[in-house]
């Protein structure tokens, strides 16, 4: 039996939740005070996900960097790999919010998109 200790992020209570797992299956969730904690804990131990935000190099723009994000969540264990692909990207101005910077980043099926406009100079 595997035990995982989590802090719930659902509200400022920050309940300390304990999840018990058997062969990757959730057996029990304890320590939460509401349904939000139960749901959060189950997601977090089976397939934790995060949105990654960073900046990418942009050439010929009125700013040296363009801020970017993964358009939706990606698996948490891919954060480092996603950062490397973002760091390798070089964009050219102009760029608009929502323009794709890296397509299907690290095979996640999620695009990295620009989060601000950079004008050409």
């Amino acid at each position: 039996m595997e035990k995982r200790e989590l802090t719930c992020i659902g509200c400022p209570m920050g309940c300390a939740i304990t999840v018990e797992l058997e062969n990757g299956e959730v057996v029990s969730v304890t320590g939460n005070t509401c349904g939000i904690g139960d749901k959060y804990a189950r997601n977090e131990v089976t397939h934790p996900e995060r949105t990654v935000t960073s900046t990418a190099v942009i050439l010929g723009g009125d700013k040296p960097r363009v801020s970017v994000k993964t358009k939706s969540n990606i698996p948490k264990d891919k954060i480092d790999a996603v950062m490397k692909e973002i760091d390798a990207a070089v964009m050219s101005a102009p760029i608009r919010i929502g323009d794709v910077v890296v397509k299907n980043v690290c095979g996640t099926g999620v695009d990295v998109v620009a989060t601000r406009n950079v004008e050409k100079i």
Binding site: L6, T7, C8, I9, C11, P12, M13, G14, T33, R50, T51, V52, T53, S54, T55, V57, K63, P64, R65, S67, V68, K69, K76, I79, M83, I97, T115, R116, N117
Partner: protein, 420 residues
């Protein structure tokens, strides 16, 4: 001298939302004065997500949130001036500003909206002992360097203060390849959101040391090490608990202070608790026609509430310009006590208030299973149970005009926290 109906000082989230609201209320000549080279304020460097859940029902990054409002300002053809520093606001609403392009000039404003935001508490205000080498930054300065300019301030980092910007920068520097060794927090609780503690520290195994502070900074040219120690209940370092961390960077995330030099010079009455102007139900200061909103008024936890507050300031400034705002005779005082540190607004004139008035406040400590109580004079009229309240989050109560009118002769509304 130029003439404008409304002059807005600051083109961040508060200034933008106030401008849009004033235009929607039918005001023609509006001017936004912005110190930076672009509109959007601090949101431009807050590239992480989590903004706008209340306003847009989706999670945006800071620049995206800002652009939603910038677009409205552009569409409405509201005038704005960039790279412009406001030097003075007089009691009769003459705004003195200057820029490289236009030199120094004056504007006579029908109404002024203060939307200057806040700034970070610097090292000098923290009394940290030690040397004064390069490599000590406020968290927000580091954020600007990394996210806007594309520079890394350092490779080995210690962070003092667990405010949200510090937590966000712990993750950001880590993602960019730095080693964040520890976050020290003077208080026994974090000032940051739980979500940020989990996703910015726990995710990367960065330790958070509560009740700890920096007691020494080493380094002649550049920071070489920082020593932290545990503090007792009075915030005094406990000898023997010192831990030394070699590092090249110290980030400070130790609170925000509303930036009110202009307001003070203009004669605006200030609250010693919020360090922001004292305002009435219309978000108007003691100077008629001078309104305040956003972080210059009181430091907010969510930008959504800044936008909402600024919208009200914009509407009220519009009413003032059109002569629709009756005299600012405030008949009811709002008092914050027993756990509630302050309220915004501080006074109410029932005739001027909207049907509903949101009163925002913060608590001074962590409260579990406690009640937010509102008293009309000595009568308790509201008693809402809250599972948790923490200093890092804003609380609110909503007052109804009808209820206030029913209680004629009402002099004092008290907001307090009660155990039962």
């Amino acid at each position: 001298m130029m003439n404008y109906d409304i002059v807005i000082v600051g083109g961040g989230p508060a200034g933008l939302a106030a401008a849009v609201a004033a235009r929607n209320a039918g005001v023609d000549k509006i001017l936004i004065l912005e110190r930076d080279k672009e509109l959007g304020g601090i949101l431009n460097q807050c590239i992480h997500n989590g903004f706008g859940l209340h306003t847009f029902k989706e999670e945006l990054t800071g620049p995206e949130y800002a652009y939603r409002f910038i677009e409205k300002v552009l569409d409405a053809k509201i005038e704005y001036k960039l790279n412009t520093m406001v030097m003075d606001i007089s009691e009769d609403r003459v705004v003195t500003a200057m820029s490289r392009e236009d030199g120094m000039y004056q504007i006579k404003a029908g109404a002024v909206i203060l939307a200057m935001g806040c700034r970070e508490r610097p090292r000098g205000a923290l009394n940290i002992p030690g040397f004064r080498p390069a490599g000590i930054f406020s968290a927000g300065t580091a954020q600007r360097l990394v996210n806007i300019e594309g520079y890394m301030p350092g490779r080995e980092v210690v962070i003092l203060g667990s405010g949200d910007i510090g937590l966000i920068m712990a993750r950001r520097m880590t993602l960019e390849g730095a080693k964040v060794k520890v976050v020290a927090e003077l208080m026994p609780y974090s000032g940051g959101l739980k979500r940020n503690i989990v996703q910015c520290l726990d995710d990367f195994g960065i330790p958070l040391k509560l009740s700890h502070t920096v007691v020494d900074i080493e380094g002649k040219e550049k920071v070489t090490a920082v020593t932290i120690a545990e503090v007792d209940g009075k915030g005094k370092p406990i000898p023997g608990t010192e831990e030394r961390y070699t590092c090249d960077t110290l980030l400070l995330s130790c609170g925000l202070i509303p930036e009110n030099e202009l307001s003070r010079n203009a004669g605006v009455e200030m609250s010693p608790i919020t360090s922001g102007p004292i305002v009435n139900e219309s978000l108007e200061t003691n100077i008629p026609g001078v309104f305040a909103c956003g972080n210059v008024l009181h430091v907010h936890d969510l930008v959504d509430y800044v936008s909402e507050e600024a919208d009200r300031a914009g509407q009220n400034a519009a009413k003032f310009v059109k002569g629709e705002l009756s005299d600012a005779k405030s008949d009811i005082e709002i008092v914050a006590t027993e756990g509630a540190r302050y309220t915004v607004p501080s006074t109410i004139n029932v005739d001027r208030m909207d049907d509903k008035l949101t009163v925002r406040f913060r608590v001074g400590a962590v409260y579990k299973d406690s009640f937010v109580s509102v008293y009309f004079d000595d009568e308790r009229v509201m008693h809402n149970k809250k599972r948790i309240m923490a200093p890092g989050e804003m609380e609110q109560v909503i007052l109804l005009k009808d209820k206030l009118k029913e209680k004629s002769g009402l002099k004092k509304i008290t907001v307090k926290i009660e155990n039962e």
